[in-house]
């Protein structure tokens, strides 16, 4: 349903009929948006999905130093960092080559390295450098929420020490570095902490529905299997990323019974499900999550059937966004192949993610603990105030 009044549309039509009519249907979007923008974030994720399989992982870990990275589309941004002898993007790319490492964590590590390599002599200068590096990183991919959130949180966390004014610069700088390293460590270990926290929620004989391929959720299930819990997993096919097949691949290696579902079969199978586990691309201020397309649907069905929906997200994903509805976010589009040729005039919904409001989520598993959705805003207020 187009949420626009009839009178408005008539006005529009009257106006456009006076001026030369616009050909495509994209007048519904604001004029300045480029409809063909492909989200680099999702391209990366797709690439990562391709490499997340454990055999490849093992190879990659072994060879992590010398692997030349894949080609990333936005190479233009790398040039902006070149004026400094220390290039934050290079550092970032270096960290990113480890497929097991989340993008935001790589960014955090890169920013910590910025502090370490900085030649600034005053705190102000250092902060400015940090800010510039973080902006460069953020502009590398504007659609990645966790990257933006991770950079922002890092800057806030690191520069928040109140004792910075009293010490001389070098000790303050080492203080900052300490905090930065700590933040990096926490972010790295976040997955393990989350996996530990969620073990209590997986009981023997339960059926878990999983959507999308989140490394955190994978970690949770791995740990549960290692703790010899008996459970089975239903995974959605996850078109167009094909996450279902990849995940089922992984899980079968761990001897966890897996069943693949069509995305449309979720409601059908929901009565045999005990809980739903999803990851998150970003956790927004209202407590809702932004995740792969289809999460909202599944959360709605689960809510209406009284099944709990658990979200596993690291704390660096808390972003200062507050979408009011699905279209209130920066669009992230990805190409969708249907396998057959689509006629010219047919529009395709190509958004790669959706927003799930907090009322459909039960709990958030984060490295800060097991939280209810309303706590996200409290945490953000305390950090940003």
């Amino acid at each position: 349903m187009w949420r626009r009044s009839a009178s408005f549309i008539l006005d529009e039509r009257r106006r456009t009929s006076n001026s030369p009519p616009m050909a495509d249907n994209n007048t519904t979007r604001a004029p300045f948006q480029n409809p063909d923008a492909i989200s680099a974030y999702y391209q990366t994720r797709a690439a990562h999905h391709g490499v997340i399989t454990s055999d490849w992982l093992a190879q990659a870990q072994a060879a992590v130093g010398g692997v030349s990275g894949e080609e990333y589309p936005d190479s233009s941004v790398a040039e902006t960092g070149k004026e400094k002898t220390f290039n934050v993007i290079e550092e970032f790319n270096g960290w990113r080559k480890q497929p097991d490492l989340a993008e935001a964590v790589a960014a955090i590590r890169a920013l910590a390295a910025v502090i370490r390599a900085s030649e600034a002599s005053t705190m102000m200068e250092l902060e400015i450098e940090l800010k510039k590096a973080s902006d460069t990183l953020k502009s590398w991919d504007k659609t990645s929420i966790s990257l933006t959130a991770g950079c922002d949180l890092f800057i806030r966390y690191v520069t928040r020490t109140s004792a910075l004014e009293y010490e001389d610069f070098n000790s303050a700088k080492s203080r900052l570095l300490e905090r930065a390293e700590k933040f990096g460590e926490i972010s790295c270990k976040a997955r393990k902490i989350i996996a530990m926290l969620s073990q209590d929620f997986i009981f023997d004989g339960c059926t878990i529905l999983v959507h999308g391929l989140s490394r955190v959720v994978l970690e949770i299930l791995k740990t549960a299997a290692q703790n010899n819990k008996l459970f089975r997993v239903l995974c959605t096919e996850g078109r167009p990323d094909g996450t279902g097949v990849l995940l089922s691949n992984e899980l079968s290696k761990l001897d966890i019974p897996v069943k693949l579902l069509l995305d449309s079969a979720v409601a059908y199978s929901m009565d045999e499900v005990d809980m739903v586990f999803v990851g998150a691309d970003g956790v927004v201020e209202s407590g809702g999550i932004i995740n792969m397309m289809g999460t909202y649907q599944i959360a709605l069905v689960a809510h209406s059937m009284n099944k709990p929906v658990y979200v596993a997200a690291e704390s660096y994903k808390f972003a200062r966004l507050y979408p009011l509805d699905q279209k209130d976010m920066a669009p992230a589009l990805r190409p969708i192949e249907f396998g057959v040729k689509i006629p010219e005039k047919v529009e395709v919904e190509r958004s790669a993610r959706d927003y799930t409001p907090p009322r459909y989520l039960t709990l958030l598993f984060t490295d800060l603990g097991v939280l209810s959705p309303s706590v996200v805003s409290d945490e953000l207020i305390q950090l940003y105030l």
Binding site: R3, R4, S5, A6, S7, F8, T28, R29, A30, P31, E285, S286, G287, R320, Y322, L324, D325, K327, D328, P358, S374, S377, D378, I381, Q382, Y384, L385
Partner: protein, 587 residues
């Protein structure tokens, strides 16, 4: 005004208020109330005093000192807890500040000057007062109090008060035969005319419950603004004040010359509230703060008094006057709390001119930071939510929302506004005028049409008088309807409210705390003189008019609250209140 209320004035003026309060500590409690917590003590502070008024009325001849002792005895109902006694008095003193703020002021410790103890001994009550306090048990006190209450309710008007007074004094005599001064309870203080000190002392609690007759009687006696109570009142709302409108303005104008202690700027603001010239949380708050700035500018400490306490007392008296003109809004309440806090925190060692300058700049900073800059921040956040092609609904005339819409228009966003209005105030027309002048496309309708038009609305922007701790939005009446219908249509509801208007109380319904407006405006339709079906029925016993000013919108209908701290869900309001208090105190 009324002699009975001036009994406190009897104590020689060299003792300023805190000492007088201290004084209570030494007096013996004849009729202490069983309840000891300060808030209820505040409420209950008022009732025993009514008996003292009555007794005072009957025999105006006894010596001032004695009177005060006796009358104080009425007041010191807390048994052995001096703090509670002071809290209650303090609460009775200040009009608008909750007990916590008051305690800071009145409990500022000063050892009673020697004259005080002289007095104490002079009247014959010595340290025996302290141990005597402990003697009455709770049950006894409760019995005493019930007896008086019953006595006063048995008859009506002055006479029973007298009898209750004598009952009281009789009881007093019975309970404390050792007290020779008990007959002094009957004395009224013959103080000349209204004085600010007395008004400050007897100012009602801002959320005083008006269905308790005795308190209302007391409040009326001490009031500057003579408001006649409406006769025909809705039973459910009897705890709120309801006055006949239109009677006070000419009255006040003539009285201006008599009201010496009233500062002209404050008087002017009060008149503007009364006539409805200034309305809206921000406007009222700013007007009041600017009046206070003038007060501070022209203030000079009387001899033998400290600036902190005297100025606070003055401010309290002005606030009680403003309450009489129109009950305080939450924004004003918070601002007053801030001002009193700042006054209390002024170091004693400052020179008067420095202190005054500091205070004025503090008030100026409050206005510019918490109101003006906050509005700018709200606008900055809110315009990001307005998208191309939006149809925005707004209700009434919220100042913050108006700024948002104007700014969005400046940024060349393409949107349409739907202004919903309601009788009797028709505030939406003002907003409509201002938007149209800037060239924004507007539609105007009344609130009875919202279910008809909401299907085309994409977002609802509302203002708030206050946001409470459980996420409830306390705003102009009608807001709850709009929010409810919007949420039924799945339209997001955004509330724009500055953080200084947040309050830590929680409210579950619109009844327990509200404001009643003039009921007569409901009987007429604005602009339609021919619709006069209710003429002549306004005094009919079977027909009661109810004109509520505010209502409470539950947090389920609110999607987000836009404050100067950013966009937050309604569940995060207590966090902001907590952070705000912290910052407040550190500032």
């Amino acid at each position: 005004m009324d002699p009975p209320s001036r009994f406190l004035h009897s104590v020689p003026t060299r003792f300023d208020s805190p000492d007088r309060l201290r004084f209570h500590h030494f007096s013996f409690p004849q009729l202490p109330l069983p309840r000891h917590d300060s808030s209820s003590a505040a409420a209950s502070a008022v009732s025993p005093s009514s008996f003292s008024y009555s007794t005072a009325a009957t025999s105006p001849t006894a010596s001032p000192g004695r009177v005060s002792r006796g009358s104080f005895s009425r007041f010191s109902f807390a048994s052995s807890l001096p703090g509670v006694g002071m809290d209650s008095m303090a609460a009775a003193t200040s009009s608008s500040v909750p007990a916590s703020g008051l305690t800071t002021v009145s409990v500022v410790n000063m050892p009673p000057p020697p004259g005080l103890s002289e007095k104490a001994s002079g009247v014959g009550v010595q340290k025996s007062s302290k141990p005597l306090k402990e003697k009455t048990t709770k049950a006894e006190r409760r019995a005493l109090q019930d007896a008086q209450r019953a006595a006063s309710k048995a008859e009506g008007g002055k006479a029973p008060l007298v009898s209750s007074g004598s009952v009281a004094s009789a009881n007093v005599k019975a309970a404390k035969p050792a007290k020779p001064s008990s007959q002094e309870n009957d004395v009224a203080v013959a103080a000349a005319g209204p004085s600010e000190k007395d008004r400050k002392k007897d100012a009602p609690h801002p959320r005083m419950q008006y269905d308790d007759e005795s308190r209302v009687v007391k409040a009326k006696r001490r009031a500057v603004v003579k408001q006649t109570e409406a006769k025909n009142r809705v039973e459910l709302f009897r705890h709120l004040p309801q006055y006949e409108h239109g009677t006070q303005l000419p009255d006040l104008e003539t009285k201006f010359s008599l009201l010496d202690p009233m500062y002209p700027a404050v008087y002017k603001v009060g008149l503007q509230y009364l006539s409805g010239d200034i309305s809206g949380g921000n406007a009222r708050c700013i007007a009041m703060l600017q009046a206070f700035q003038e007060v501070v500018k022209d203030y000079s400490t009387p001899p033998e008094k400290t600036l902190n306490r005297d100025l606070t007392a003055k401010i309290s008296s002005y606030v009680s006057f403003l309450i009489e003109c129109r009950p305080l809004s939450v924004s004003m309440g918070n601002a007053i709390r801030f001002v009193k806090n700042r006054i209390a925190q002024l170091p004693i060692t400052l020179f008067e001119s420095e202190a005054k300058a500091a205070l004025q700049s503090d008030i100026q900073r409050f206005i510019s930071e918490k109101i003006v800059a906050a509005d700018k921040a709200i606008v900055r956040h809110a315009v990001t939510k307005i998208r191309y092609g939006d149809v925005l609904l707004t209700y009434g005339s919220p100042s913050a929302v108006e700024m948002v819409l104007l700014q969005a228009h400046e940024l060349r966003k393409k949107f349409r506004v739907l202004v919903v209005d309601s009788l009797p105030k028709l505030e939406g027309q003002l907003l409509l005028r201002r938007l149209i002048k800037r060239g924004i496309d507007c539609t105007y309708t009344h609130i009875n049409a919202i279910s008809y038009i909401t299907h085309e609305v994409t977002k609802v922007f509302l203002g708030a008088s206050s946001v409470l701790s459980n996420g409830t939005v306390y705003s102009r009446v009608g807001t709850a309807c709009v929010a409810m219908v919007a949420s039924a249509f799945r339209v997001p509801v955004l509330v724009c409210c500055e953080a200084y208007k947040f309050h830590e109380r929680e409210q579950l319904d619109s009844i327990c705390s509200n404001e009643l407006g003039d009921p007569n405006v409901i009987s007429k339709v604005h602009g339609r003189g021919d619709i006069n079906y209710l003429d002549g029925l306004t005094n009919n016993a079977n027909l009661q008019f109810l004109n509520l000013m505010y209502d409470a919108t539950p947090s389920d209908y609110i999607s987000m609250i836009i404050t100067d701290y950013g966009m937050v869900p309604p569940t995060s309001v207590p966090v902001i209140v907590r952070e705000y208090q912290k910052e407040h105190l550190l500032v």
